[in-house]
């Protein structure tokens, strides 16, 4: 069995499960974001729910529309605050950051765990060697009532990453390369494991980026076998957490194993309006950038701020370019202030906003006008994602976004002197 199957079996109270089988599982934690909590609570009542099955396993995070700019969101958040109080749900985080950034930070994600969330990027957590996947609102409402959900045991595809990063290349570029080579449905309904000598050297922040992006290849969950880097991360963020390591039995537990030589990868950009529409950053120098969008569950961690500040130090944004920055969490924001990174970005001319999803999926400020071009370290270049459907969104690494914001057009960060 693959470790993913073993984790599912353990949460289904079974010794083993077969790939393709549908089983009922009880997750360790279920994340409800602001919208998810409002919808799920509503559907839970419609399903005849009265008391939530396991309030201690529910984590409510306000990240998409917090602080609210529309009255409908204020009203719905007020209702959610009342609802969680009435249900005895105490794990509540408003304004502390994006669910997928704070889950690993606060120790809700740990090796061997099963995590559900009302958001497709819940898969991010799987970098810690757990199974983490998005659920619909009705799914979560049913979980609230019954304490379990149905789950199909997925086939698993493994990407073995080897070679060395070229200058200016990051985990994000690997994810874009996979989208380019194998498409946006590279892994439909599958588990996606990252392994190989390069992954074993990767810090958790880079692993989180890889696993964050698996949903954008169609995957159910990511997976990285827990190792010393994982253990260190968990001991720092959840020192009291007991966890069970699971290991995959053999290579026959994979539906496919793909070798990827990272040395061949240059800084990449997904161009409008599909993630698989990928070009080299250096080929796109004629694309003028009106707005850089920096942050989100893909690119809002402290390491992203360090990379960006190293590029932006002592420089100014191009006169025609604006930059929206939303730290992924309060912890990231505070650390970036302590290290002087926020100051560097503001001195360069960036607007630094609240923690949360930022302009991605139209949550916070920074909407695009028709025909404007944006470059972002978020994960999706879908039409209309940051405002006008007539705008163009380019997806790249944090380094490429910072460098392009300074240049005012798309450039490769490899051409930039880092401070």
């Amino acid at each position: 069995m693959h470790a993913i199957s073993k984790i599912i079996a353990a949460h289904a109270d079974r010794k083993s499960v077969e790939v393709g089988e549908i089983v009922n599982v009880a997750p360790d934690f279920v994340m409800l974001n602001d919208r998810g909590a409002a919808r799920a609570a509503d559907l839970f009542r419609l399903m005849g729910g009265d008391r939530v099955f396991a309030p201690s396993q529910i984590v409510v995070v306000f990240d998409h529309h917090y602080p609210p700019i529309r009255q409908q969101d204020s009203v719905s958040q007020k209702k959610t605050r009342e609802w969680i109080k009435e249900q005895g749900i105490t794990k509540f985080h408003a304004g502390e950051g994006i669910g997928h950034v704070i889950f690993p930070e606060k120790g809700y994600a740990f090796p061997g765990a099963l995590i559900f969330g009302t958001d497709s990027h819940t898969v991010t957590n799987s970098a810690l060697g757990c199974v983490a996947t998005g659920m619909g609102h009705s799914d979560v409402a049913s979980y609230l009532a019954l304490g379990y959900n149905w789950l199909r045991v997925p086939e698993v595809i493994r990407f073995d990453l080897y070679g060395e990063f070229r200058a200016g290349v990051y985990a994000k570029d690997i994810a874009l390369r996979i989208a380019q080579l194998y498409g946006e449905d590279a892994a439909p309904y599958l588990g996606v494991e990252f392994a190989g000598p390069l992954v074993s050297k990767m810090e958790m922040s880079e692993r989180l980026v890889l696993c964050n992006m698996v949903i954008d290849f169609g995957a159910k969950t990511g997976y990285i076998q827990p190792d010393e880097i994982t253990a260190r991360f968990v001991s720092e963020h959840a020192p009291s957490r007991a966890w069970t390591p699971y290991a995959t039995d053999s290579d026959s537990d994979y539906s496919r194993i793909v070798d990827l030589d990272v040395s061949q990868i240059e800084p990449l950009v997904a161009v409008p309006h599909d993630l698989s529409n990928v070009r080299g950053a250096s080929e796109l120098s004629d694309v003028r950038i009106d707005e850089a969008v920096f942050g989100t569950c893909t690119g809002g961690r402290i390491e992203d701020f360090r990379v960006a500040a190293a590029i932006m130090q002592g420089r100014k944004l191009a006169p025609h370019t604006r930059m929206m920055v939303n730290p992924g969490s309060r912890q990231v924001y505070l650390q970036a202030m302590r290290e002087g990174l926020i100051e560097v970005m503001m001195q360069a001319g960036a607007q630094v906003g609240v923690t949360g999803c930022g302009p991605c999926s139209g949550c916070h400020q920074g909407m695009l006008a028709p025909a404007e071009n944006s470059i972002t370290n978020a994960s999706r270049n879908f039409r209309g994602r940051f405002g006008s459907p007539e705008a163009n969104i380019y997806v790249a690494s944090s380094a490429t976004v910072a460098a392009s914001a300074i240049a005012g057009r798309i450039v490769s960060p490899a051409d930039f002197v880092m401070h």
């Binding site: 409002a38 559907l43 005849g48 958001d119 009705s138 449905d185 999706r380 879908f382 039409r383 209309g384």
Partner: protein, 178 residues
């Protein structure tokens, strides 16, 4: 389960941002509200054109992207009989099953159907037919658990039933209520 209706066709990698744009998100919905915004990211007139019993046929990876359940729920509310594609986004598939909307995988179906073609599907017998062209294909078997959820009208009905069983068992002194 037997479905018959004219097809609306869409392309590949149609994401849920297009099927149900975020600007129409609400904390709660009045009856018919979600259906009135179905597919407006692609065609603003679609909610006025689509009729109950119509089917949607699309290219690969239909419903990819964001988890928004409204994409599936709006189709169910509009009375879409089935949604058919060579492959689907995982969350969209799940949401269709949970709202009781037949989500039908059929390889290369997008190459076999033109807009307006009359499509017939039988989930129990496992076939799809294009009644205009005569094209016919077997459907890959659907997991019995998923088929049952769709036939039951979705996860809400299932949950309601299990809750009632639990409450009855608790009232009979079988198990303690949670």
């Amino acid at each position: 389960m037997h479905i018959k209706g004219p097809a609306w066709t869409f392309g590949r990698n149609v994401n849920t941002d297009l099927i149900y744009p975020k600007m129409w998100f609400r904390p709660t919905y009045a009856p018919g509200e979600m259906a009135s915004h179905l597919m407006v990211g692609i065609d603003e007139e679609f909610p006025n054109k689509v009729k109950r019993g119509d089917v949607i046929v699309s290219g690969q990876n239909f419903g990819c992207g964001s988890s928004r359940e409204e994409a599936a729920a709006a189709m169910k509310e509009a009375g879409i009989g089935a949604v058919i594609a060579p492959s689907f986004g995982r969350l969209f598939t799940r949401n269709c099953i949970n709202v009781g909307l037949p989500v039908v995988v059929s390889p290369a179906i997008d190459e076999q159907v033109n807009q307006g073609d009359e499509i017939e599907i039988d989930l129990a017998q496992g076939f799809i037919r294009n009644l205009r062209s005569g094209y016919e294909a077997r459907l890959p078997p659907m997991a019995p658990e998923s088929l049952r959820l769709i036939q039951d009208g979705g996860i809400a009905n299932y949950t309601r039933r299990v809750l009632e069983e639990r409450r009855k068992a608790a009232a009979d002194g079988g198990i303690k209520p949670e």
